[in-house]
Symmetry: C2
Subunit: 455 residues, 2 copies
């Protein structure tokens, strides 16, 4: 029996690997000339590897840690503990010791407001039915509003509201106005809680892969060998009761007993299907847009901010870069600042010229870390919105009304067509961990299903 | 100079006609084996024409009336005046004389609530900047919430809320939870006001075209002759500084100086563009999903409801059919009831079997018009969600956050690629009138633009 996998990101590669382990024939068709999908390796001119896409493993990401070990890869801690992080809200700056529950230096009113808002949000999130979010108590009401509406109603201070909005941008590269409250709650529960989502130590940003996260995909692809076919964008998926035929843009058709489409939902919806997909699947993918993000890097001779007792992390409600990290290699040389332009900032700044954008980004680094940030030896960026085969990061988000009226269609196969990817994951949705779990789980479903069918 | 038009709906055909009138060469590529797009002719087994798609002209639709006259088509009044309409809210039924400002028989509290809600909504709508909705005062706040959030906050009674929700379903075939409040306001202002949108006489549902609305497209296509190429779904649009090449799925390429893509935004976003579209255009079309609707017909020997003093119109907050019309031909024989399954009801009922759906629809007709509705001589339906080349009706709606962060990209050409369709219209957005205005206006822009360029 043979399975065609569309996409050589983490979901596609782990699905393929598991299928091979279960004794099936597999071909993985990848549009790009590289594997890794939303993880991608880049390199500074001195040879230092940088990660242009997804980079973190953390709390609860057990499959990813195990996979790294199986593949002979090592992880290291995100630079965090030695130095304080900067938090800027409404023009007021705090320096915080980085640990869960760190308390920003804002007014007692704002602090109480924020604490109460967090507690309320976490209480709501704990109620979410992860398997079937549309059956969560009060689902229609929660899904009938944006997260922004909830923030306006539940947070009373400007600082409290700003904190939640920046959190939303940091998690989805989308605005609180874009996202259904039910989705915000689902995603939070899927990733333990809001603090875990936002934290470094004991959080979703705890560790990195030595050499870059793309190494995981590269090692998986090496194992799979010539089963992985690069440079082969898929255009058409024919599916019949007795099999599938997956056709590339170049006109080559790969036949199989089943297909796993691991493209982001919006792109999965753009393929030609024959016969066409049921309307509920098509209308679902019309409603799962990707976030908006440009990942930026500035390299310096040394991580000079460390000398000032800072750990290179900033979180601010003023852009275009509102979130930064010290992304220096384990050796500490060169010093590498990484900054995200997310959500509405990204939508605005991708229309600027590269020079304007670089100046604005470096301007933010100077605002956070002082004049020594003004002259990076190198600047690098990746606009994920412009990537033909991704079209936005970090992932898909559910707009209001979608979970409650289309949720059932998300993970449901259509005949011999199966879906996988970080956006489909029940647990650790949106993360590399979710991609791997989704890939492995779809492989097992298919194997079980094919095992029951006559060859 | 030559223009390639993608789509032979009203926007594409009127764009082509205007370009021809201005002396340009045109080819119109249509995916289907028919013209008309979201207008479509059907026929009962006795030969009575019925409209499977858009059907109404009304107040302010001056271009459509003029076009009908130019094309030698006649219009007739929607059956409305002779008889009362039914309004059911929260299980209570009123019979109303159909005119603007008709007062439903609900409690004085509900009535006051509804009147105040309507007035508030209209006041907000009048503030919208139709050319640039994102510059409307308070745009971010209006766009940061769903229409449903506004309804919950501004309407106090169950009947008042139900009325607004049904109105939303009737206008977009979408739920109030799906739609940005700013979009609801923009669309309402674009179509004069809420009462005009919902009314028959002096409203958007006032008139119909004798023989069916699709006749307009058919006559336009006759005029254009062999410039219209049917059965030619477009797959790829290559665009260069010196021209465009539009390739069909079958592999034929049509070269031109410009292209007008008149597909619904979500489908326009699914074509392959070379080079790829700017990210802001791509991310916009990821965020403009189509509504969800099944249009249903039941035919009877006579329009028996007229004998009971009813005009065949019902509006209810209980589905699956919440809106009905008397769609009998001008002769009055046979009697034809038309019912819409819209929004969440459509999403649910398209998953039922045809028999289950028919039984549920006829059950609604019985609930509204009595036991004589139980045995139609014929039943017919069109599930617009399932149409490969439409993928949902009535049109695209803006989800929260989209007007304010992507609005500028909506009507902006990308090099030699232009966009047109009912969903792009400033005035009478979403209606046949909007499609015609958009088509004619894009033709004039292109002609002006091409006139300035060396051939």
């Amino acid at each position: 029996m043979k399975v065609v996998v569309v996409g050589a990101g983490l979901a596609g590669l782990t699905a393929a690997r598991r299928l091979v382990a279960l004794g099936h024939e597999v071909v993985v068709l990848e549009a790009r000339s590289r594997v890794g999908g939303r993880t991608e390796g880049g390199v500074l001119s001195d040879g230092t590897p940088v990660e242009l896409g997804g980079q973190w493993l953390g709390e609860g990401h057990s499959r990813m840690y195990a996979l790294c070990e199986e593949l002979g890869l090592e992880t290291f801690r995100t630079w965090n503990d030695e130095g304080e992080l900067l938090l800027e809200l409404r023009g007021k700056r705090s320096r915080l010791k980085p640990h869960k529950g760190a308390v920003p230096r804002v007014s007692p009113f704002a602090l109480a407001d924020l604490a109460q808002g967090m507690a309320r949000f976490e209480r709501l999130a704990r109620r979410v039915d992860l398997d079937r979010p549309w059956l969560t108590p009060g689902a229609e009401r929660l899904d009938g509003q944006t997260w922004e509406s909830w923030i306006r109603r539940n947070l009373r201070t400007a600082a409290g509201r700003a904190y939640f909005r920046v959190a939303c941008e940091a998690v989805w590269a989308a605005e609180a106005a874009d996202v259904s409250l039910l989705h915000a709650l689902f995603y939070t529960r899927s990733n333990a809680d809001l603090e875990t989502l936002l934290a470094v130590d004991e959080g979703a940003q705890q560790d990195r892969v030595v050499g870059g996260s793309v190494r995981v995909s590269e090692r998986l692809a090496e194992e799979l060998g010539d089963r992985v076919v690069l440079g082969s964008p898929v255009r058409r998926v024919a599916h019949r009761p007795d099999g599938v035929g997956v056709e590339t843009r170049a006109g080559t058709t790969y036949d199989g007993d089943a297909v796993v489409v691991t493209l982001p939902p919006a792109l999965a919806g753009r393929l030609d299907y024959d016969p066409v997909l049921p309307s509920w699947r098509d209308q679902l993918t019309q409603r799962l847009p990707a976030g908006s993000v440009v990942k930026t890097y500035a390299a310096y001779p040394t991580p000079f901010w460390r000398e000032d007792g800072l750990n290179g992390q900033a979180a601010s409600d003023e852009g275009p870069v509102k979130i930064t990290f010290d992304n220096s290699p384990p050796s500490g040389t060169p010093g590498v600042l990484m900054g995200f332009i997310e959500g509405a900032e990204a939508r605005r700044w991708v229309r600027a010229t590269p020079d304007e954008r670089r100046a604005a980004v470096v301007g933010c680094f100077v605002r956070y870390f002082g004049p020594r940030a003004a002259d990076p030896v190198e600047y690098l960026e990746r606009d994920w919105n412009a990537e033909e085969f991704t079209r936005g990061c970090y992932g898909a988000h559910f707009t209001p009304g979608v979970w409650t009226t289309y949720g059932e269609a998300l993970r449901e196969p259509v005949g011999r067509i199966h879906w996988a990817g970080a956006d489909y994951a029940r647990d650790w949705c949106g993360y590399m961990e979710g991609a791997v779990r989704s890939g492995e789980s779809v492989a097992e479903s298919i194997a079980a299903e094919l095992g029951r069918k006559p060859a």
